[in-house]
């Protein structure tokens, strides 16, 4: 999660909402990414989407079986759906997101009967550091 936090700090330096993500397989980092919708002119460029795309390209597959995703914020509906499509094995995340999260909040997508794949989910990893970055970012925006 340290590398995911480093990515989130990099997003903050670039003026993007500070969320970072890392994909790991067998103890090896396959890809890292941060939020970048503004810089990339891409409404889908959340950290999770970007890191899933990078890892899939790196491994030459569209299914990331045996891969684990670490991300500093609870994924939204778009990213939760992408995590299911990618067949991620374990999801570790930091801060909870009552307004936009879709894992433990809102539609709770992994609890829906129609979801195609459910990773193991571990919440609250480095929660305080992850949340503090977001609080600082939005406080500066105001």
């Amino acid at each position: 999660m340290d590398q995911a936090l480093e990515q989130a700090r990099e997003a903050m330096r670039l003026g993007e909402v500070p969320v970072g993500a890392v994909i790991v397989r067998d103890g090896e980092v396959i890809a890292t990414a941060h939020n970048s919708p503004r810089a990339d002119y891409d409404p889908t460029a959340h950290a999770e989407i970007v890191v899933l795309r990078r890892a899939a390209k790196a491994l030459g597959t569209s299914q990331l079986i045996d891969c684990d995703l670490w991300v500093t914020l609870e994924p939204c509906a778009m990213c939760t759906g992408a995590i299911a499509h990618a067949r991620i094995r374990r999801l570790y995340y930091g801060a909870s997101d009552p307004k936009g999260g879709a894992v433990e909040h809102g539609p709770r997508l992994f609890s829906q009967p129609t979801v195609h794949h459910r990773p193991e989910v571990y919440a609250g990893i480095a929660e305080e550091e992850s949340a503090e970055l977001l609080r600082t970012f939005f406080a500066e925006k105001r």
Copy 2:
């Protein structure tokens, strides 16, 4: 929707699940795309995600306000979330998807209280042609 169906047929020719999408603004086609997760090694490469990314790049923005999305199949959770992030004005879709859809089925994301944006939704446009392509594709796979 004719152009979205042509994109879906192109996906079928390439061995991808036949779904196509088009983004229109003021009567002008901004971008077209089809499903391509296998060819692109990209679990997020549903037609909707690809067309949202292309349109945003083409317009130099991360929010597609005043844009309408036409797609041959009811969007999944990932794509429905992306449509909300992109602030699409109107969503027109073809076939319903009781197993994977997230607009009128499953989590019904635009009906969730936490959704950030709800487009106007028009379902059942060229439904039969859209569904027939999918039936043919999956029948050939068996």
